[in-house]
Amino acid sequence: MPEKNMVEAIHDTLDLLMAQDESVVMMGEDIGVNGGVFRVTDKMLSKYGAARVIDTPLAESAIVGTALGMAVGGLRPICEIQFLGFLYPALDQLISHVSRIRDRSAGHLGAKMVVRAPYGGGIRAPEQHADSAEAYLTHIPGLKVVVPSSAADAKGILVSAVEDDDPVIILEPIRLYRMGREQVPEQLYRVPLGTARIVQEGTDISVIAYGAMVPVAQEAARNLQREQGVSVEVVDVRSLSPLDEETLVASVRKTGRAVIVHEAPLTGGFGAEIMATVSEQAFWWLKAPVQRVTGPDVPFPPYAWEDWYVPSAARVQRVVSQVMAEE
């Protein structure tokens, strides 16, 4: 089985999807001759032509809005938003139309489309290139929101997303794009949307994370095991919407403790929903309050502060230790 990093895995999967289905088209800023600013669509233009690999003008609302029209018209568009922090002009299209067209047409029309966007900190990019905007998206009924944390998952999630009958937005953690290679099966396979993944089993506490925070949680788990003998169960949420409540709740019922980790600011972040869900459904099993380890309630800062902003394994360990100490 070949070893791939996440960019390669997504690239090769797009290639397979484009090859097998003529109705799949890709669109976005600089995805053509430039292959995308992260090279995810490298060489696709020469392979599939400008009618299916569409270098769009610079306008995000138009990218998402025209994609919806294409989807209704029988194509399967995959939009790339150059950075998630530039999705905001397109939120109206997502909220008002993409997510509602099925409901509004009593099920007759669907937005069979995918939006992909790199997101999060980690590469010392300029301002507004590192936003974590998932909480705006998880509160849009009708829209699915998924976040891979490994190359293999990135492939399986992308395949499921493109095949899904409903609109799916995939948030791709920039920090994991080239973080290392892992085995990725050659053929097409699917990670069912709506399923979380137990990354590592544990008995004392559940650390619930997604995206680039999954390896951080894993690192914290290793250190906690080694240094304090704490057995951490690491859960990768993976599908924020729909949320796999069952897996999350089962984990917390088992361990009785939970810490949630994300990069986005604390207040109103998706961690609040996870916390609300497990606090409700695992209430009688909880041995201590659930805690959140997140970015602070500030805009993602210029990169000199980036390492302060993004949760580190050390911060996760500190909070896990606190939770373990409560009784």
Partner: protein, 340 residues
């Protein structure tokens, strides 16, 4: 700078694609239906039998003739005011009434129309995407978006026309300049003299037409359609008309409409104008007109009766179509709601 002359045909200009007498008669008939429908619905609203509703009074030529110029397999992307076009394109009146009753989207299976768009100008992008899909799938059709003068101020208007220009896809932007966006006069909406000239910004065709001249509207839409299907790219059409009624039933135009303005437009009533034209060609008698009006009222009353006889809505319908397959949490919510 070029000026944008207003095209009108009833006056005698024969340089545009013409409408056969049979087609003109069909257009007239549908305009009568739309007028009767709006009058009926306004009454129903006053009686509390339907909710907020946006009539097309005064805009019947623009609304109906434009839709007649399309083919059934063309796509339309309408706004909240375009039930006339939807009706011509195949949407049953029952469905429009259900929409006004807050019971349903303005959609029907098999009709190539998007549900009416309430957020202004957002649907122009959908029309562009539909046109892209048509070309990509080698379907020789067009997509047409309906919108108002106010919509030209929104960013999505701009992005849609710009993408359409770059892509050269078969899309028509049909703007009904009815003089007002709720209480905002078009002169406060933009500093450009016409809306048609906005096409210059995108290097696409811009046409200004007398929107109360059904034959002119028909002609320019047919021409835009031909151009589009032959690869000639998109067209922006400004149909200059006038909103003779309120913005919606929730609106009181006496608060903002200069006195006398409405009266000044009565002579341009598109229904009267087309009626006179057809009478002049001896293909429409006074009796025909009365019969058509009566028939329309009957059909509409029947539709209202059918719709009012329907079962009340069920809570389950609020949940059913949000996703193709209902996620677990939503299914649980539905169970809880049902238990309420």
């Amino acid at each position: 700078m070029a000026t944008w002359p207003m095209i009108s045909v009833m006056g005698g200009d024969t340089s545009h694609v013409s409408c056969t007498d049979e087609e003109a008669l069909r257009i007239y008939q549908d305009m009568v239906v739309l007028r009767a429908f709006d009058e009926k619905t306004l009454t129903l609203q006053r009686q509390g039998r339907v909710g907020t509703f946006a009539p097309s009074l005064g805009q019947e030529a623009a609304e109906i003739a434009s839709a007649h110029a399309l083919e059934p397999m063309d796509w339309i992307a309408p706004s909240y005011r375009d039930h006339g076009a939807l009706y011509v394109h195949g949407l049953p009146l029952d469905q429009v009434i259900l929409f006004a009753m807050g019971r349903s989207g303005s959609y029907a299976a098999g009709v190539r129309a998007l549900p009416s768009s309430i957020p202004i100008a957002t649907h122009l992008l959908h029309a562009v995407g539909l046109a892209y899909a048509l070309r990509q799938r080698a379907e020789p059709q067009v997509a047409m978006a309906y919108f108002g003068d106010g919509a030209t101020s929104e960013g999505d208007f701009h992005e849609a026309l710009n993408f359409a220009g770059v892509w050269q896809v078969p899309v028509i932007f049909f703007c009904q300049n009815n003089g007002w966006a709720i209480s905002t006069a078009v002169s406060h909406q933009t500093h450009s003299e016409t809306l048609a000239q906005k096409a210059v910004a995108y290097g696409i065709e811009g046409i200004r037409v007398d929107g109360n001249d059904a034959l002119a509207v028909y002609g320019v839409v047919r021409e835009a359609r031909e151009r589009a299907t032959e690869g000639g790219g998109p067209t922006l059409i400004e149909a200059v008309t006038y909103r003779m009624g309120p913005h919606t039933t929730a609106d009181d135009p006496t608060r903002y409409r200069p006195s006398g303005e409405l009266e000044g437009h009565r002579a341009q009533d598109p229904l009267i104008r087309l009626g006179q034209y057809l009478a002049g060609r001896s293909i429409l008698s006074a009796e025909d007109q009365e019969r058509m009006a009566a028939d329309s009222r009957d059909r509409i009353n029947e539709a209202v009766a059918r719709v009012e006889a329907m079962d009340p809505v069920a809570v389950e319908e609020m949940f059913r179509h949000v996703y193709q397959v209902m996620p677990n949490r939503l299914a649980r919510e539905l169970r809880d709601w049902g238990a309420n």
